[in-house]
């Protein structure tokens, strides 16, 4: 059994004015094995964000099922969703989403505090993560005092500290410069090597080229996927670019 099993996912939105039905996701099926590092690519409006929101249990699909760790996401009761999300998922967002009223340390603690962990346990957990992410000296600082790359590393630390089954990253390099981006992507690869499953939505070819498998979404469907195999990042980069060109010029499904 895979860790994440997405089957026949469909999502229909009704537009506000005309009442038109828009199919954001038509028929999406894929699965994620434990320890995978998956990138989901697609143009703006292809349905990436809708998919991610459904995986994060922030949104409900119209049809289909999402099974994470043997639990049907669509069946979880509203009152349990937050706790489920907290315990099983870690999030990294494009715009960091750190709370400016907290120090980086407190920001990282936030999910643990919500889970009711003791302070001692929290400080035990943060030490190795802060070392790994190189933010140990920044813990006492407030978000507005550090750079974008540092903020994003704090956000990654916040995602990792709960030891989640799956990390969902939404354009994690979108707001970073190239240096900070490549640092973050290296970090992701490193975390992944230690066994962390990552699912990243991006339209940066560079970011996607760090993943082990790339899913391409077009018009609400999984259009294509590439496995890394034995390719290097550069080779993978090449493959992704080619695929995107084909996608953009309207090639048929291979």
């Amino acid at each position: 059994m895979s860790m994440l099993e997405v089957t026949n996912l469909r999502k229909v939105y009704t537009t506000r004015f005309a009442g038109n039905q828009v199919e954001a996701l038509k028929n999406v099926s894929f699965s994620v094995e434990e320890g995978e590092y998956i990138a989901i690519m697609g143009e703006s409006g292809s349905g990436k964000t809708t998919l991610l929101n459904i995986l994060a249990a922030l949104d409900k699909p119209t049809d289909g099922s999402v099974i994470l760790n043997d639990r049907e996401l669509t069946h979880i009761r509203e009152s349990e969703v937050s706790a489920f999300r907290r315990d099983n998922l870690g999030f990294v967002f494009q715009e960091f989403n750190l709370l400016d009223t907290f120090t980086l340390e407190d920001n990282i603690y936030l999910p643990l505090v919500l889970a009711g962990k003791s302070h001692q346990e929290m400080s035990e957990r943060i030490a190795p993560i802060a070392d790994q992410l190189g933010i140990r000296k920044l813990l006492r600082k407030y978000p507005y005092e550090v750079s974008g790359g540092q903020k994003q590393r704090a956000a990654v630390a916040r995602a990792l500290i709960t030891e989640p089954k799956l990390i969902l990253a939404d354009e994690p390099t979108g707001a970073l410069d190239s240096k900070a981006s490549s640092e973050l992507l290296q970090l992701f690869s490193e975390v992944n090597r230690k066994g962390q499953t990552i699912l990243m939505v991006t339209h940066s070819v560079n970011a996607a080229s760090h993943a082990n498998r790339i899913l391409f979404i077009k018009d609400g469907e999984v259009f294509h996927q590439i496995y890394r195999g034995n390719s290097t990042n550069e080779q993978l980069y090449q493959k992704i670019s080619e695929t995107l060109t084909i996608l953009a010029t309207g090639g048929d499904r291979r």
Binding site: A56, L58, S79, V81, S82, A83, R85, R86, L89, F91, F93, N97, L98, L99, D100, T101, F102, D106, Y109, L110, P111, V113, L114, G116, S118, H119, M122, Y142, P143, Y144, E145, R158
Partner: protein
């Protein structure tokens, strides 16, 4: 580009942000109307027909300046929220190619629109309501004026003129302030002004501590003050200390408190404290001033309401104390001999004769002789030879007494008792003091005269309006040798009053009572009468004739209390509302993040509730605390208004607090709903 275009931009801006602009414009309208009403009342010609009109007019003038002053503060405060919200829009216009000049033009248009609304609606509302305000005032004063609906164009124009001048000035100041903020910022800064990262507040021990010390000092003054006259001066000092202390405590102390909570890791890192403590701390710095303002306004309203209401509702009681019977007569005699039993009974008979044409019934007659003088306790001796008014100062005020000597025979007659006193023995009754001496030593010209106090009595109320009106502690002394004592004191004390008082009810109509009193004055305030009875002075006062003056003062204070309370409450509501709204917009993104990170809706709601409750009820709790500690000094102050009904005052104060708390909770409910609305809007 034409001005119409800017008008349109300004108008759209206002419409788009109506949630913020509507209350702001309402404030402007209400402030203008309130100012107009108070201002118009003092011009109003009909005020002259009210009792005590000069006092009321002065009080109203003062009141209108208070309202103008508060308008400046409130409108500036509320406007600062508007500017913060609109900066983003201005930033966008700026980037789209509008210069600072054009932005200023939009601001001008906006100010014009708001001014137009405020003056149009405010003045119409004011003119309409000022008539009902007059009616309310007449009602409160219990003036018996047949009210004719009339518009005095001159007074209306004068008030409109004043209102427009003052508020145009205020709007201009606000405009300049907005201009300054727009001009000094660059477009990018404008665009992002709402999301600028803010330094977490530093905790300042010194400020917090000094706030606490100021507050304790003010409380200490209030609790320890003993003398009513001195209390007036100390009251204003205490008020200043409380205001300063509250601001310091709220701004520095609250941050300090949150810091301490944060240091306690076991407490801080709990899901229901974590978010609230940190965002409260963050908030306190900016909003500490707002909370302190709410607290002070609440305290002002409570103090004003409770004291003026107490006074107003005990008017009758105070009036009765001052004028114990319908007719109150006092005769001041030239020599002690004129106070002999025979002469007094002749005088009383003549009064009855004089009153005969009115067929007054002479019920509840109370008459007694007394000699009255001031004296100071110096060590154990009572000095009176040099105790004139000039010596009266605050330092010795607590040793200063009013003394009344009453003959034992009059005491026995009035109380129906049969007390006996041997020579140099006296009975004593003390009022406004707890000090009951064992013996009384009066310093005379040729030695000390000593009385032994046989016992303290409590069944003799000196039904003497003059004694009631005094603020000094009073000692009533029942002596066996009245005339000798009077003669002895007379030899060295010129300020001695030898008097005979007679009070009685008449069973007559109001008009008849006044007429009778008038006629008695005419009879006994003649050289003939003075000759006959050996009078220095005689007077007759009717309770009814003085009622209107009384109600003029107390009613005027009550009226002003109501008006100012409305203004202050209004101000407090606005501050609360704007706090909630602006915080709501700030918190939108914060709560969104928290939800994404895994906070449940209930947890968010609980955390919001905890925060709101603390932030909201902190001012109320402190206002209550201030009120409790202000109680002793205000009670002393009320003594100056002849009010000494502590129970009534305590009940009114508690009632006012309860009412206010109820009202406050209602406002809390409404504004926190608006807050939830804004916060949850973002999640959709």
């Amino acid at each position: 580009m034409k001005i119409g275009f800017y008008m349109k931009l300004a108008w759209t801006g206002i419409k788009k942000n109506h949630k913020l602009y509507l209350p702001y414009i309402m404030t402007c309208i209400c402030m203008t109307a309130m100012y107009y009403i108070i201002n118009n009342l003092q011009y109003s010609a009909f005020l002259d027909t009210l009792p005590g009109s000069a006092t009321i007019s002065a009080v109203l003038t003062w009141g209108s300046w208070v309202i103008a002053f508060f308008s400046v503060i409130f409108l500036f405060y509320t406007n600062s929220f508007l500017i913060r919200r609109r900066k983003k829009e201005f930033g966008l216009y700026n980037i789209l190619g509008m210069g600072k000049k054009h932005l200023s033009l939009i601001l001008v248009c906006e100010t014009m629109i708001i001014m137009l609304f405020s003056f149009g609606a405010g003045l119409s509302l004011g003119i309409l309501l000022s008539k009902s305000a007059e009616l309310l005032m007449i009602n409160i004063m219990e003036g018996e004026i047949v009210y004719r609906f009339s518009m005095e164009p001159a007074s209306i124009l004068a008030s409109i003129f004043m209102t427009v001048i003052i508020y145009a000035g205020i709007f201009f100041l606000i405009f300049l302030n907005a201009l300054r903020q727009i001009r000094t910022a660059n477009p990018i800064a404008l665009l992002h002004s709402e999301n600028v990262g803010e330094k977490p507040p530093k905790s300042n021990w010194l400020l917090g501590l000094s706030g606490l010390i100021l507050l304790i000092t003010a409380y200490w003054i209030s609790v320890t003050i003993a003398d009513p006259v001195a209390s007036l001066m100390y009251f204003f000092i205490a008020v200043l200390l409380v205001i300063l202390g509250t601001y310091l405590l709220f701004m520095a102390g609250s941050v300090l408190f949150c810091r301490i909570l944060q240091k306690k890791k076991g407490y801080y890192y709990k899901s229901n404290h974590f978010v609230s403590v940190s965002s409260m701390m963050y908030r306190m710095k900016r909003n500490g001033a707002g909370l302190a303002s709410i607290c002070i306004l609440a305290t002002m309203v409570l103090v004003m309401m409770s004291s003026t209401t107490s006074l107003y509702f005990s008017e009758e009681e105070i009036l009765t104390k001052r004028y114990p019977r319908e007719i109150n007569m006092a005769f001041i005699m030239k020599s002690p001999d004129d106070l002999s039993d025979e002469k007094i009974s002749v005088l009383e008979q003549d009064i009855r004769t004089a009153a005969a044409p009115y067929q007054a019934s002479f019920e509840n007659v109370c008459s007694y002789r007394d000699i009255a003088f001031y004296g100071i306790f110096k060590d154990d001796v009572i000095m009176m030879d040099n105790t004139t008014e000039a010596d009266y100062n605050y330092d010795t005020a607590s040793d200063f007494y009013d003394f009344f000597f009453i003959p034992l025979s009059d005491y026995n007659r009035l109380t129906g008792k049969n007390e006996t006193l041997s020579k140099n023995e006296v009975l004593v009754s003390v009022y406004r003091s707890d000090f009951v001496p064992q013996e009384l030593n009066f310093q005379g010209k040729d030695g000390i005269k000593t009385y032994q106090v046989k016992k303290e009595i409590s069944d003799f109320d000196l039904e003497n309006g003059d004694a009631m009106m005094s603020n000094l502690p009073t000692m009533t002394i029942i002596v066996p040798d009245f005339q000798e004592s009077a003669a002895w004191i007379k030899t060295f004390n010129d300020s001695l009053n030898l008097r005979w008082d007679i009070y009685f009810d008449t069973g007559l109509s109001k008009e008849q009572q006044i007429a009778l009193s008038h006629s008695l004055n005419e009879t006994f305030r003649t050289p003939d009468a003075e000759e006959t009875y050996g009078l220095w002075n005689a007077r007759s006062e009717s309770r009814e004739a003085n009622r209107e003056d009384f109600f003029g003062l107390y009613g005027g204070l009550f009226y002003l209390g109501i008006m100012l309370s409305i203004v202050f409450i209004f101000a407090a509501i606005l501050i609360i509302y704007y706090k909630q709204i602006s915080e709501g917009y700030e918190d939108q993104s914060r709560f969104e993040i928290m939800q994404k990170v895994g906070m449940t809706k209930q947890e968010i709601r609980r955390s919001i509730n905890f925060q709101l409750l603390t932030v909201f009820f902190l001012p109320l709790v402190f206002a209550g605390l201030h009120l409790i500690f202000a109680f002793p000094i205000i009670q002393k102050l009320l003594l100056l208004f002849n009010f000494d009904n502590v129970l009534l005052f305590a009940m009114t104060t508690a009632g006012c607090f309860f009412l206010f708390a109820l009202f406050y909770s209602l406002v809390y409910k409404i504004t926190s709903n608006a807050y939830y609305h804004i916060v949850s809007d973002a999640k959709e």
